[in-house]
Every structure is written in C-alpha cells, then in structure tokens.
Symmetry: C2
Subunit: 137 residues, 2 copies
C-alpha cells in the first residue's frame, strides 16, 4: 500500500515537473530555435524557375533541392516556400539557418552544394536574390 | 530517513521526466513553431534607412518598429535583423509570422501599423522590398 502511494506521488511529481518543464521549454524554445541567436545566420534565396508554376518539373526542383541541401550537415531549419507577395517578381524561396560563419562557408564549399549549383541551379533557375539575416547587433 | 529517500526518488523521477519532456518538446517545437505550417505566412521586408548604419537614429527606428509591431496581437515570431548579404542592396530586415490571411489583413489595417507606416516608415525608409513565404503547396 505504501509502495502504491509512493508511486502515485512519484507519478504526480513527475507530471507536475513535466508540465512546468513543457511550459518553460516551449517558451525558451521559441526564443532559442525560432528566433535567430547571435552568431547564427538565416540564409534565404528567392528565385524563379524556367518551368510553369505548379508544373511537375517545378515540384521536382523544389523536392530535389530540399533533399540535397538538407543532406548537408550544417544546414538547419531548411524550408522550401512559395513566394506569394505580389510586390516582388520571385516565385519560390529556400530558407536555412547556419550556426556560424564557418558553417556557412562549409555549406558553400560542400561538394553536394557545389554540384547542386552546377548541375541544377545554373540550368533551371532564371533569376534569384539572396538575403542573409543576422540578429541586430 | 525514509522521507529523504522518498524525496530523492521523486526528485530523480521528476528529473528524468523533465529530460524526456525536454527532448520531445524540443523536437516537436522545431517542427511546429520554426517551420511554417500550411496556412501560415512569413512576412518579411528588407529595407534601407536614411541614417548611417549603426547610428543612434537607425537603432531607434529598429527598436521602435519592433516595439510597435510586436504590440499588434496577430504578429508572431517578430524579429529585426541586419541584412548582411552583399548580393543585395538592403541593410535591415523585419520578419513576422501570421497564422492566416485574415491575420495578415488585420495587421495591415491595424491602426498601430497604419500609424507606423504613415509617421515613420514613409519618412525614414529610403527603399524596401517585401517578401512573403507560404509552405509549398
């Protein structure tokens, strides 16, 4: 009986701890993972493809780009986007985060990135603009 | 003595529960909060100011913009950035996430946004480009 009460108490304590941890982590994760920290760089590129919007070829480019670039170890929080503002002329976007300048350089020089630029980007992308964000100093 | 062991065990159970919760939440938050979900829109603007980079006036604009725009309830994950890519001509960036088109419209029409554009943006910003991302369909 004492043993059952003990475990019930342990369970409740664990549950309460879990709840508080969840709240604390959830808050701190929004800050640490979604908000760019000092030293990190959010690298984005908005671009157009030589294919009609919504075509199979466009889908394949976005899929392959995602697959190839997320395979590079320093790439964090990668996502492919539709660029939907009518106030610029670009149709798609890639976004990723690097932990440091060193990681950014290592991405640029990575053989999979170099091959992707050479074999796909230069052949299928008709226009693009790069944007890099850093936390305000 | 038994009491001390009980609390020690509760402590360890809570700690273990906390660790597992931390790992689970951290993973799920990266997915749910950092990666744009269907229906959400990441609204960004890259821009230049009429002040020298690093000046007090530039800092004040970024500070006031952050303060005013984060006060609008539909604005999520707001951040002000230095735009550091040399492949475009813009110096700063604001980024925010809306849960829906309705929230985006409500932001555009919000009196604090309208006043900010009228009283500050049109007077202090010399050039800008808007970019909106949606999860690839």
């Amino acid at each position: 009986m004492k043993r059952r009460i003990f475990f019930r108490r342990v369970g409740i304590a664990a549950l309460i701890s879990g709840l508080f941890t969840r709240e604390a982590i959830s808050r701190s994760t929004v800050k640490e993972d979604c908000i760019l920290n000092k030293g990190e760089i959010q690298h984005m590129v908005i671009f157009n493809l030589s294919y009609p919007e919504g075509s199979e070829e466009a889908g394949k480019f976005l899929h392959d780009g995602t697959s190839i670039l997320t395979g590079i170890p320093v790439v964090k929080n990668f996502q492919a986007f539709d660029q939907v503002s009518q106030k610029n002329d670009y149709q798609y976007g890639f976004s990723m985060v690097f932990s440091s300048r060193e990681d950014y350089t290592s991405y640029n020089n990575h053989p999979d990135h170099v091959a992707f630029v050479r074999d796909r980007w230069t052949k299928e992308v008709t226009a693009f603009l790069e944007i890099d964000f850093e936390k305000v100093a």
